[in-house]
């Protein structure tokens, strides 16, 4: 499976570097290594979700307890979590770091992934959620640190979109 192990590790290290100690997730192909690394790390609490919206509540609870957290999900997971994002994170002003694999963009071969990706940025914009793309490994750590800083200072959700160029290595 040509998901980048090295860059998954870069993302994980950056996440841990900004203090994340709880991760909630549902798998998707591009996230398999990230989730496995989280599972292997005794310092990280990994919560396996049934549906992404739950993760918004779990992250709120962790924030109340003073623990930084992140959600790992795909475009459709983000779309699924919207009610929780509005009814918990935005309504109650709670920081939320969302890492969303950006399926459905240029290069997408799976027909079923091509729709959800079109709406991720417009929906983020409609909710006034600050977001940025993670494309190159060197940008991951600084962008993730800045995203976490903004989430904590603004008490708001923020999103980082994990791009194909970062997560996928085309087989040679």
């Amino acid at each position: 499976m040509p998901v980048s192990v090295a860059n998954s590790q870069v993302v994980y290290d950056a996440m841990k570097g900004v203090g994340v100690r709880l991760v909630s997730a549902l798998p998707e192909t591009w996230l398999v290594h990230l989730i496995r690394i989280a599972d292997d790390d005794p310092e990280m609490t990994l919560v396996r979700l049934a549906k992404e919206e739950e993760g918004v509540g779990i992250s709120a609870g962790a924030h109340f307890a003073g623990v930084k957290s992140a959600m790992l999900m795909q475009n459709h997971g983000f779309l699924q979590a919207i009610n929780g994002i509005v009814g918990v994170s935005l309504l109650y002003k709670i920081p939320l770091l969302m890492l969303i694999t950006d399926r459905g963009s240029f290069g997408e071969k799976d027909p079923w992934q091509t729709e959800g990706g079109k709406y991720t940025r417009p929906v983020l914009d409609a909710l006034h959620i600050a977001h940025d793309d993670l494309t190159a490994p060197d940008d991951v750590e600084p962008k993730l640190a800045k995203a976490m800083t903004l989430a904590q200072s603004s008490l708001s959700p923020v999103a980082l979109l994990l791009n194909r160029d970062l997560m996928w290595e085309e087989p040679k």
Binding site: L22, G57, A65, N83, G84
Partner: protein, 199 residues
């Protein structure tokens, strides 16, 4: 059995617990007994009170967490029962008041008339669902003294517990809560994060 009587019965025991409630009647009635800094009322996002409780329970394993849920909310996040069960926090007690109706979002009416019931009215068994989801302990209670005994036992105990209490679909005397959501939102984590975490 009335919800308010159940809440009165356990109110003293909630003193040192992190308490997360759903919106509507449950929040208003708990508040009416006397607000405390360790009570968080999730006034929206039905279904996620248990998820918020899970987030607290996993990150503060030495703290007892009591989630006070309702049948309508639980039915909006049934998958959350499986997430709770597999995470299996020993320090969480999941109370579910089952009035078989979506009372607080307009499904109830004065006099306890149920015009918009939930599926528990037609036989869906939340205690059975929780048990089957993997809760190590789950029970259905219909009498006040059974509720009190089961809840106090669960709070003192050391395993994830679910108690489903069949209650009347009675409106609270008032839905008024003289605390802003954001005031509650900032007060609650201050209590949770205070040294020792006591009032």
């Amino acid at each position: 059995m009335k919800r308010i009587d159940c809440l009165k019965a356990i109110y003293p025991e909630l003193k040192d617990c992190a308490v997360v409630t759903i919106m509507g009647a449950v929040a208003a009635e708990l508040y009416s007994l006397g607000h405390r800094a360790n009570f968080f009322y999730l006034e929206h996002a039905m279904g996620l009170a248990s998820s918020v409780g899970l987030g607290i329970a996993l990150t503060q394993p030495d703290r007892k967490v009591v989630v006070i849920d309702g049948d309508g909310s639980v039915l909006m996040n049934l998958g959350g029962l499986t997430t709770m069960a597999r995470s299996r926090p020993k320090n969480l007690v999941h109370l579910i008041f089952d009035n078989e109706t979506l009372l607080s979002v307009g499904g109830g009416a004065p006099g306890g008339y149920k015009w918009f019931t939930t599926a528990t009215a037609t036989g869906s068994d939340l205690a059975g669902i929780a048990k089957a989801a993997g809760y190590p302990r789950s029970q259905l209670v219909r009498e006040l003294e059974d509720f009190e005994e089961a809840t106090l036992d669960a709070i003192k105990g050391d395993e994830l517990s679910c108690i489903v209490a069949k209650v009347e679909a009675e409106m609270p005397k008032s839905f008024l809560m003289d605390i802003h959501m954001l005031e509650n939102r900032f007060e609650f984590p201050r209590w949770l994060q205070a040294k020792g975490g006591v009032n």
